[in-house]
Amino acid sequence: MIAPKDNFNDLDLLAERPEPRGYEIINKENSEGQELLEISLGPQHPSTHGVFRMDVVLDGETVIKLKPIFGYLHRNHEKIAEHTSYIGTMPYTDRLDYFCSMTNNWGYALAVEQLADIKVPERAEYIRVIMAELTRLINHTCLAGFLLNDLGAWGSPLLYAFREREKIIDLFESVSGARLMCNYFRFGGARCDLPDGWLRQANKIVDTFPKFLDEFEKLITGNEILRSRTENIGILSAELAVNASITGPMLRASGVDYDLRKAQPYGIYGRFDFRVPMGTVGDCYDRYYVRILEMRESLKILRKALKDIPDGPVCADVKIRSFKTRPGEAYSRIEGPKGELGFYVISDGSPSPYRYRVRPPSFINLTILEDMCLGHKLADAVVILGSIDIVLGEVDR
């Protein structure tokens, strides 16, 4: 803890204060007198889902202390937004969580619509739900694939998952122009309408997806190696999860019934009938399996939305150049595939936001990484990190 000085006259004094390392190791030896080993699972590592570093103190193979260090991908997204116009920040939000660009766009558009009181037409709301659920599908398949990659399955389930992902990403390309960085939503709706044949293609994918899920489950879920390496590893209790602001599938796997789409619905989610899968134990296997079940629920929402989508305008009549809103602030929350994605925008009436903040679910879910890993082996630490589902673009912004 930094002891405060009594006399603050100069900002330089504060800046020159030496930074403590934060976790000075008091005992360099364990109880038997053997030396503890300190390893840096460095930023370049195939299992760390991006440029992420963990400083681990080991007693043999058991983890004693673990401190995550990130900031290697910090691109200062929040300060860029203070100099760019409102619409200019939209392509930057794609690049936050680069697997799920549609939900990032939706969160930002929702925050600005709350500020400016823009009403979204019906067809646009349905399009938003369809895109968000497709994004959830591609994110959860990615997670299943990458988790198995971390376990050592050498890319085989990963590429099965990627095969399905490619079909959905082709859909995104035909509507918005880019596979990952879609930049599709605008304030008041979507940028352009769905092209001809898109709904037919989407229906075909939604019809064949359960077959892929069944094949994937046959491949993976009963696998003894997966079960023995993920069951009872990284158990997270419900009270600690809620206190540590964990959201998303990780919270639900610990047994807490909190899904923003059901608890505090936004958009038109109130019209869809789906269940919220919850885990019982809160270990890595639960976190993985909750996501597989969530994919099946997403398919239900998609089927209904693709059937019910009405005709009509796709965007409200809002001019995008020199977009200004009244002074005020807004906080929008959406249930992104990784957790609760929030956008906090303060406006002072000028063409750029005064303060723009992204509430990143991956960053906050990492708070209890250390608590979950204590007492497990080093290999388990990698599996636990994989089951949290982080994307460094969002952690570092």
Partner: protein, 192 residues
């Protein structure tokens, strides 16, 4: 019948099925061998922007209004207007540079352009060995004819090109009418 190892054997059965089926069913083998065969790009695919001209490169649609330069988020466009002999601003850009290494491909410049002058390209094989300005494209390299634009984007291009052609026809007719009126005028003066 459940013995340890059954899950792994089931998984291997799935992999074996995929492997063997890839010899007989086309949808199990989905690799395209690039560069010998290429996937046809979708119409809406966007990569980097280019400028459109109508009949000849001198008749480019861009009037150097600088809206795209202002709205571009990473500020990769740099425009300078053209001036005629007297120094008056004419509606053409003299310098129109886009730095492809900075460009995000976000398509905001296309959305805000009021004259349909800048559109998104389908070119993706752009690698160069010049690190400093190999990806800095100038106005003449960016200009492409309107027919090529229509071939790249058939549905959208047909509508936009038809609209622009109509505008050009109207302008030509208006100019012809004005020239005819001006030609008739000196006659009464000469009679005096």
């Amino acid at each position: 019948m459940n013995f340890p190892g059954l899950g792994i054997i089931r998984g291997m059965a799935v992999t074996a099925e995929n492997f063997l089926r890839s010899f007989s069913r086309a949808d199990r083998l989905f690799t395209t061998e690039y560069p010998e065969e290429r996937i046809a790009l979708q119409e809406n695919y966007r990569n980097f922007p280019f400028l459109v001209y109508d009949d000849a490169p001198e008749n480019m649609r861009c009037v150097a209004c600088k809206i795209c330069e202002k709205e571009c988020p990473p500020q990769c466009i740099s425009i300078e207007e053209d001036r005629d002999e007297k120094g008056k601003v004419i509606r053409r850009p003299k310098v129109f540079d886009i730095d492809y290494s900075v460009c995000m491909g976000c398509q905001i410049c296309v959305e805000v352009c009021p004259f349909d002058a800048i559109k998104m390209d389908h070119e993706y094989e752009l690698s160069t060995d010049n690190r400093f300005d190999g990806l800095l494209f100038h106005r003449d390299e960016l200009l492409k004819p309107a027919d090529q634009y229509e071939k790249m984007h058939p549905t959208e291009g047909a509508i936009v090109n038809a609209k622009i052609r109509e505008q050009i026809e109207k302008k030509k007719k208006a100019e012809a009418a004005k020239a005819a009126a001006a030609a008739q005028k000196p006659a009464p003066v000469a009679e005096k």
